[in-house]
């Protein structure tokens, strides 16, 4: 295995600090891994402007790569293009559902022009990650972290978190 494959594998396995069931690769924040003149260059993108986990991601990437023997590491941040939940991998979506967090649906690229106003919460079909029932409702668009909404299931009556589409 080449050095690049090796460092890529290490970087891809680093867990997200706030959603440790996902790796940075599952979450789609890991944008690029390269080796240039012996230096490992990892590029990440923040999920939300105020996401406090970005610093932790940098530190974790450095720590895991150092454990694998790579000490010359640069972690770059790119802001553009902005992260979207559409970048969460299929494996990431399965892992979220397995752990009781409803994964986001796919939203596609934003249309040009003014952003449409929603006077009622958009009705998305978010199946309950516990019992699979489609009868769920949003309790609050805001949850324990910037990326999650709070919902409940009308059938099993359990509340659950939903990684909301952005």
């Amino acid at each position: 295995m080449g050095v690049l494959d090796e460092v890529r594998e290490v970087a891809e396995q680093v867990a997200d600090p706030e959603l440790p069931v996902l790796t940075l690769a599952d979450l789609g924040v890991l944008r690029d891994v390269a080796v240039r003149d012996g230096r490992v260059v990892v590029t990440i993108t923040p999920t939300y402007s105020g996401c406090p986990a970005v610093e932790e991601m940098r530190a974790d990437l450095r720590a895991r790569l150092a454990e694998a023997g790579h000490h010359d590491v640069e972690v770059r941040t790119v802001l553009h293009p902005a992260w979207t939940t559409d970048w969460i991998t299929d494996r990431g979506r399965r892992r979220l559902a397995e752990y009781g967090i409803a994964p986001p649906s796919r939203i596609g690229p934003r249309a040009a022009g003014p952003v449409p106003l929603n006077l009622t919460p958009p009705s998305r079909r978010v199946p309950c990650p516990r019992c699979g029932s489609p009868r769920t409702e949003e309790l609050s668009h805001f949850g324990s972290t910037a990326c999650k909404a709070l919902r409940r299931c009308a059938d099993c009556r359990e509340p659950f978190e939903h990684l909301k589409e952005i």
Partner: protein, 295 residues
């Protein structure tokens, strides 16, 4: 692996290494490609980034004042989340301002060590709504509607950092605006009492609306260079959205005279209302009393 353990690994092994808030924050633009465009006056770019950054920082501080005091738990969490998004936008923009200015001031120095006259935010965001939730919702509706219209356009800015911050901010501002609009609808179209409170809340912030569209010299200069947007261009879109929300809620625009300027000078020139000094005192006093403190 069991269903209940989505966060189990947060507690395994070295706790500090897994805890997102256990380490200090560094500069928010670290690792971002941020060469300054050669065609732009960097002092003007710095001033413009301060305008955009200060708007977000000061409203973030206002919204954070609801922490633990909102009318219901979900709303407490919502306002704190919105405040966090705005704080994130502010950090990126203040870091960009410091860089363009080239005087060695980072985002913290700009947030904590400037005096009132150096802040360039509009009056709307410094308005103290106290414990009047409807007024806070009115403030958030007007601000997020204005900023969303602005950021949609700034996503094409000639400054790549401003463009990237704006493109990302659009996604966040869209749900801030939806949240405020849905509350205006609920309160305006609710009981007689909630309607009265919503109307009073709108009347409280409406004197600050005019200032949002009054172009500043810096905005006009940079708009010509393709970096900024002339705020007067936003008016029809913002009016349209506000009218849609108000009419859906069965409300009409309050009659309000715009707040007077001081010989044409207002927030963008560092001329602020009385509320600003109190806000800064609370926001800055620890950083100023204990310079360089970390925790």
């Amino acid at each position: 692996m069991s269903f209940d353990n989505a966060y189990e690994s947060l507690l395994e092994g070295d706790q500090d290494a897994h805890w997102a808030f256990g380490t200090g924050f560094h500069e928010s633009l670290a690792g971002v490609d941020r060469a300054l465009p050669s065609t732009v006056d960097t002092a003007e770019l710095a001033a413009y980034c301060l305008m955009l950054g200060d708007d977000a920082l000061i409203l973030s501080q206002r919204l954070a004042q609801w922490c633990s005091r909102a009318p219901e738990l979900e709303e407490d969490v919502a306002l704190a989340n919105i405040a966090l998004d705005l704080l994130g936008q502010a950090r990126l923009l203040l870091a960009r301002a410091g860089e363009a200015e080239g005087r060695g001031r980072d985002e913290d120095a700009l947030a904590y060590l400037r005096d009132e006259g150096e802040f360039r935010n509009v009056h709307l965001v410094e308005a103290d709504c106290g414990d009047d939730f409807a007024a806070t919702i009115a403030q958030l509706l007007v601000f997020s509607t204005y900023r969303l219209a602005l950021f949609t356009r700034l996503a094409g800015s000639a400054d790549p950092v401003v463009a990237a911050i704006a493109a990302k901010g659009v996604k966040e501002l869209a749900y801030h605006r939806d949240h405020a609009a849905q509350w205006v609808l609920r309160l305006g179209d609710g009981t007689d009492y909630s309607r009265e409170r919503m109307l009073a809340g709108l009347a409280r912030v409406w004197p600050f609306v005019e200032e949002l569209f009054a172009p500043h010299r810096i905005e006009l200069g940079l708009a010509e260079a393709g970096v900024a947007v002339d705020p007067a261009e936003l008016r029809s879109e913002v009016d349209g959205v506000l009218d849609t929300v108000l009419s859906a809620a069965g409300l009409t625009r309050p009659e309000a005279r715009p707040l007077a300027t001081v010989a044409g000078r207002a927030g963008r020139d560092g001329v602020h209302t009385e509320a600003m000094g109190y806000l800064l005192a609370e926001m800055q006093h620890i950083a100023r009393s204990l310079p360089g403190a970390v925790w």
